[in-house]
Symmetry: none
Subunit: 418 residues, 2 copies
């Protein structure tokens, strides 16, 4: 039997267009991965009557109702008391929740006031999940064999409670079908091109396997979803299909599943015991930011010189002033000198250097907005390329950053393993 | 009378977590600005029965139903024929739509095939809106004084049809009230604390004004929504209320409405003709990245030294090696020397320096994960503070970055205007 979920999002922010609902997509992906399909997503305001009606309708439609939002300490947040009313439940002080709230406030030297204390009042007919990322606990209700879980709408809190409590508990309660996903991550070509290379592969896919193309910012993720067999059978089927895909599109694949370029590059550097530095102009620190989001990056990453101004390129990175004048700051000559300069200054084996025109202004007929030069220096050589991304400022910055990491990945792959 | 809308999104992509629903937020903002409130947003799959039920329920609840998605030419898209069934309407060829589709295909050298010709079949009980951005027309149905509009889900097509046809037609059909929003952006304290400071203010709010608290990552946005009077009256009411709020919580307010810290700081620097550099350790370039997302940042931002390794702090920023050993890299002494070093090296008026333990490892009993020292150097003085954020790695990096920009903002405000 298929287990169906409805996600209910409570709060004005989405209804007035102030924020985009990213929670639901995140939850839907986690649920699908666990073999639970999402039947409906409903967004409503903090309105008692509307909440009561919507919750009842959802429990009539589906097996599991996941509610997010409306759990803040202030008076406009009414989800908790409305759910207590719905389940004919009274609010009682939960000592475990109170203790966790108190502890976290203490660490931050904040006084516990009545509003925050109120967060530890929990309906007596639910199981409370301590929220280690905020103050409002998760609440698990059961009624007529169905489940309703209420969680805060703050993404980090919702995600923590989903991963630590909700998904594991749903897996315990329901017999879920086997679903397995396998995602190949590609960079450097277009969806339509990949579809062409995979045309015959797709036609021959067994009926219980689906292939989805998920493009975003120069990247295309290819996700295989297989359903129904035993876990073991699905794994070996996906192993075989992955191999067939790699034969066709391997040159564009940089990783699998949840990999990121910054993790892959970090792993390659760690394995080879080499170090990295960066010299960024138009990307303004984004490459450095991505690299340092990886825990333990300090083992291989020494730092960066963000040379936004030309004088910084010249003075701090040793770029020739004459070359800046002759070729311009966005040129092969300058970006190669930036890479050489930063690897010398910061004493690293590898270096990435980027110089480009992010826009919206600064473009010329010869060098339009979106023109970016990228150099990757290794102990053996320097690989330099010019790109014309030609999108918005943010898109240009993002594409340049990811492209530079992919270039470094290729250089590292060649030098480490061949 | 308040005019209420429901947005219905049809399609699998959101329900399996493949894409985030950005359409609804965009539509909600446009509708709110026009004085139409969104009562509910509902997302469902391409399923005939579920579509019929959801449309009926929506028409029972609200005055206007806006449906997006499920209008592609392929057989899995069933919205049009299901709506025709719902309205007891037959599909007839619409010459105007066909002509427009034909024209656009010609421009792109694409052959008109039966699938695409099918896009010009329109229910006879609706008014069709020619889609200049794609092939599926918009469809405006009226029933019992209520309106249902169906639009494609492709953002550029939906937006085009909304702006050119739907919003203007709704304004003609309904007498709409004025709605105005005013958002104050705060940093540096908690929702519950702000609620305490605003307790009496909130109690005295007129009944047609609502105050909402929207927290995210150390920031709390406070949004006033006023409805009903003339535009001019609402503006002067919100001006007065904003002033009253500023008297109570002004010290935490960094901006209004869509402002960002990086824009505000950039504006202050530009106005005063001063320059900025940064020296980042644990934030790894995020501050620099934020600053350079603002177009024209090169006018005031010269660059950064990301000194992830201690040797880079010492060699490139002139931090005393003895102090690094004595006080540790995460200390007042080191972060102040980083700020001094980078402003000297990059010849800037102002500098931000950050050193901390982002985690998950590297914490000690005296300096737990999340401990961050931040220094802001101005021509007049250096302001230094220690924070213990104590969240996840990403949360620590993000909070440290925003906190440093807020500290700089305060220093700039004091020195520019007092």
């Amino acid at each position: 039997m298929e287990i169906k979920t409805e996600i209910i999002t409570i709060g004005d922010e989405i209804l007035i267009g102030q924020i985009v609902d990213t929670n639901s997509a995140w939850m839907a992906e986690k649920l699908n991965n666990a073999g639970i399909s999402v039947y409906q997503i409903t967004t409503i305001a903090d309105n008692r009557e509307h909440i009561l009606k919507t919750v009842q309708a959802a429990l009539d439609r589906v097996d599991i109702v996941l509610v997010t939002g409306g759990l803040g300490p202030t008076s406009d947040d009414i989800t908790k008391k409305t759910l207590a009313e719905f389940f004919h439940s009274s609010l009682v002080l939960n000592e475990e929740v109170l203790e966790s709230v108190r502890q976290r406030l203490e660490e931050r030297n904040i006084q516990l006031n009545d509003l925050i204390r109120g967060q530890a009042l929990v309906p007596d007919k639910c199981q409370a999940f301590v929220n280690e990322w905020g103050t409002a606990p998760g609440m698990w209700f059961e009624t007529n064999g169905k489940v309703l879980v209420s969680m805060p709408g703050v993404p980090v809190e919702m995600k923590g409670i989903m991963e630590k409590y909700v998904i594991p508990n749903l897996k315990l309660k329901y017999k879920l079908p086997s679903i397995q996903h396998r995602t190949l991550l590609t960079y450097g070509t277009f969806e339509a091109h990949l579809a062409e290379l995979l045309e015959d592969f797709e036609k021959d896919l067994p009926s219980h396997v689906k292939l989805a193309y998920l493009p975003s910012a120069g990247r295309v993720r290819l996700r295989l979803t297989a359903k129904g067999d035993t876990r073991k059978k699905l794994t070996s089927l996906l192993d075989r299909l992955e191999k067939e895909m790699m034969e066709r599109i391997g040159e564009y694949v940089y990783g699998k599943n949840g990999d990121t370029l910054e993790q892959i590059v970090g792993e390659l550097l760690r394995k080879s015991g080499k170090t990295l530095s960066t010299a960024e102009s138009c990307t303004g620190g984004m490459v450095s930011h991505l690299i340092t989001t990886v825990p333990g990056a300090s083992d291989y990453y020494k730092g960066s010189v963000i040379s936004y101004a030309n004088e910084v390129k010249i003075r701090e990175l040793g770029v020739s002033e004459k070359d800046v004048i002759t070729y311009g700051a966005v040129s092969r000559e300058v970006v190669e000198q930036m890479a050489a300069g930063v690897s010398t200054r910061l004493k690293t084996d590898y270096a990435i250097a980027i110089s480009g025109i992010a826009g919206p202004t600064g473009g010329t007929p010869e060098k339009p907005v979106g023109t970016v030069w990228i150099a990757v220096k290794s102990p053996e050589k320097t690989v330099t390329s010019k790109f014309i991304f030609g999108f918005t400022r943010m898109e240009n910055i993002t594409r340049a950053a990811f492209t530079s990491l992919n270039m470094l990945r290729k250089v590292l792959m060649n030098e480490s393993f061949h």
